[in-house]
Amino acid sequence: MIAEAAALSAGSATPTPGADAGGQGFVEFVDVEKSYDGRTFAVTRLNLDVARGEFLTLLGPSGSGKTTTLNMLAGFERPTSGVITLEGRSVDRLPPYERNIGMVFQNYALFPHMSVEENVAFPLSVRKITKVDVASRVGRALDMVRLRQFGDRRPAQLSGGQQQRVALARALVFEPSLVLMDEPLGALDKKLREHMQIEIKQLHTMLGVTIVYVTHDQSEALTMSDRVAVFNNGGIAQLGSPDDLYNMPESSFVASFIGENNTLEGKVERISGKECRVALDGGGSVTALAVGVTEGAACHVAIRPERLKLAPASNGANALPATVDGRIYLGDHQRLLTKLENGQVLTVKVGPEATMGNGEAVTVSCAPNDCRAFPADAGTGGSISKTGE
């Protein structure tokens, strides 16, 4: 279950370079690596600071190392090398039950043989808190998630959302300064998930706890977080506010993982200042912001569908002639699939009133500021960026 015995610790005597100089990091990962088999790394060279009171989300596809990172912080896994500190103290030698970290699991992990009240009282009773105290704190915690009247029910008698709220109350009742959430809403349906997102966010604001949240759902990450760490191949691909991640992705992985995105393939012709001219494969060219590209190299140009317009180009915007290839009706808006002359496809977000038919010729335009050119072979794995700090 807990692979404590097998973990090769780098030794707790290792100094934490830069960690103390870094200042008020509430949780810090310094050069943390984790390998299960000694050959491949689940997490590589991870450096991450979490500020007190922050809502930080670890976002990434499955196998990207986000859950391993969370488990190391919770104490269920030990880093192969590197140091994790909590409030300035290394937690290397601290077993999970001494870390005082609340945790919410994807499958809730409520104790089925205990009532809701007993579940919530569990962390208090193992801390040898007096019965009277326990009762009042359990009552307050259940009030907080509006489940007081269900105190004597068994978890199995509650709905999924209610169970998750019990799990929240249980993780918060002992007033931990840090709460970890491992895809807590993964088992709920869409409506309920959105509802719970708001509820969790409210609890975070109300209690001022630090939350580290793991999810693979990008919209969830954008909705709730102060900052998001996008994980890919065992490392952080980009760390920043939801705003920054959406509007200023630093790699084509982040651009396509967060939000909807069009990718055009091409080659960098020349770089002038912040911008570069990209010759698209199959013909045509666009001006885009240069994000780490070099002249002559293959690149990906990322454009958000809502930044594209169906209008002739004006004052230096990119204009690409295309034909309509399909239309997806989504109620409040529509997605227009357009095919460029070079064969590449762009999705354009248009209003609900648009009535273009298939085969109709259109001009797709966008400002150079809304196009971002990334190196095509961008090895996102392990590259650690520090945007937003």
Binding site: M1, I2, A74, G75, F76, P95, P96, Y97, E98, R99, N100, I101, G102, M103, F105, Q106, N107, A109, L110, F111, P112, H113, F122, P123, V126, R127, F150, S159, G161, Q162, R170, A171, F174, L180, K191, L192, H195
Partner: protein, 426 residues
């Protein structure tokens, strides 16, 4: 109620209370549901009918017939009709009047004529040790007919002994508590009360105690060995778990007789176990493991291990690893987490495994017969002996009945503690 309309988020599930306006509809709906339910139930019952018939014919009826022998034994009543008649007016104390003696003499002669005297003698002897030879001797003297029957009867001291007539009298009633009382080392005394049999005749209480002791010891041993093993199997990767399960089941698939025979080889004075103990220096001299209580418990533990282990394992497998993680993260130390989170959840499996082993151990026959010594025979060995050797089926039925009652009582207690629905046998 549109199907598309999303149910109100996260509200408690609506309870099924019908508003007053709906009562009429509700009633007819409920009736329709009941009819549909009944149809389903009848269909499944019909499918199970062949099995039920087979069970009734091959299992239920024979058991009832056999067990009824414990309380219903008409042999004596059938063989002594005149005596039964003559004893009607007897008050049960002292000796009955001469008419009873004469009636008995007549009955004995008619049995001899019909050829049923031997059966009667056996039946009397089961209740009255020594009655067989006395009766057969009396019959021979009656047959000789050189004296009046009454004189013959009075001349044999056995028929005037204080214990004889009460037993005959009780035998003339077909329904008897004699065997059941005997199975508990009890008997009717001359005053019509129940008393313990003299210590030198008492045997079954001790055998029952021994049976329960051995069953409990084996249950504990399998639990102590099986629980950690089940935990190991439940926590290792699937492939290894499958190998371990096969290793556990392999002996399970072998005939119990073969396994018992294997243990007789291993436990011999010059067998492998003793060799090993000597070699390890764990024993100074060769131990008498064969024909001993300890050898019996070792062999039974080996045979019973899968029965205890499998229910525990099947429950352990359903407990998600996140349960223990959650307990740790909430501040529970490993032992506390085990005691308060893990153990309560595997408890139904532990109870089921222990109950299964305990009850199966109560009926062990071959293993004690082959490995146990004379003082290690369990109740089943006595039942078998009454059936096969003594041909006293009444006593066998009585012992079986007592065993069955104990077993059911035990099961009832388990079920009461745990709730039958929580008893996870598979």
């Amino acid at each position: 109620m549109s199907a598309l309309e999303p149910t109100k988020l996260d509200q408690p599930r609506p309870s099924r209370d019908w508003s007053a306006a709906d009562t009429g509809t509700a009633k007819s709906v409920a009736a329709a549901l009941r009819r549909a339910d009944l149809g389903d139930r009848l269909r499944s019952l019909a499918l199970a009918a062949p099995l039920l018939v087979l069970l009734a014919l091959s299992f239920g009826i024979p058991i009832v017939l056999l067990l009824s022998r414990a309380v219903y034994d008409p042999t004596i009543a059938n063989a002594l009709p005149q005596t039964s008649q003559a004893l009607r007016g007897w008050n049960g104390t002292g000796l009955p009047d001469d008419a009873a003696f004469l009636a008995l003499a007549a009955d004995l002669r008619s049995n001899q004529a019909k050829g049923t005297a031997y059966e009667l003698a056996k039946s009397l002897n089961a209740r009255l040790p020594g009655a067989r030879s006395q009766m057969l001797k009396t019959v021979r003297q009656l047959e000789a007919a050189d004296r009046p029957p009454l004189e013959v009867m009075k001349a044999v001291p056995f028929w005037s002994a204080p214990g004889t007539w009460p037993v005959i009298e009780s035998g003339t009633h077909s329904v008897t508590s004699f065997y059941l009382l005997s199975a508990l080392d009890l008997r009717w005394n001359a005053d019509g009360g129940i008393e313990r049999v003299p210590p030198e005749q008492a045997i079954f209480v001790q055998v029952f105690m021994r049976t329960f002791f051995v069953a409990a010891a084996v249950m504990l041993a399998t639990l102590v060995l099986g629980f950690p093993l089940a935990y190991l199997i439940a926590s290792v990767p699937k492939g290894l778990a499958a190998v371990l399960i096969v290793a556990v089941l392999l002996p399970f698939w072998t005939s119990i007789l073969v396994r018992t025979a294997a243990w007789t080889v291993l436990l011999q004075k010059f067998g492998l176990v003793n060799d090993l103990l000597l070699w390890l220096g764990a024993a100074d001299d060769r131990l008498d493991l064969m024909y001993s209580r300890i050898g019996l418990i070792i062999a039974m533990t080996h045979i019973q291990l899968p029965f205890t282990l499998l229910p525990i394992y099947s429950v352990m497998r359903t407990i998600q690893p996140s349960q223990m993680k959650a307990a740790y993260s909430l501040g529970a130390k490993p032992f506390t987490a085990f005691r308060r989170v893990y153990l309560p959840q595997v408890f139904p499996g532990v109870m089921a495994g222990c109950l299964l082993t305990f009850i199966l151990c109560l009926g062990y026959y071959i293993t004690p017969a082959l490995i146990g010594g004379a003082s290690d025979q369990l109740i089943s060995n006595f039942i078998a002996s009454y059936v096969n050797v003594e041909l006293n089926w009444e006593m066998a039925a009585a012992l079986s009945f007592i065993l069955l009652v104990f077993t059911l009582a035990l099961f009832g207690i388990f079920a009461r503690i745990l709730g039958l629905d929580r008893l996870k046998l598979v």
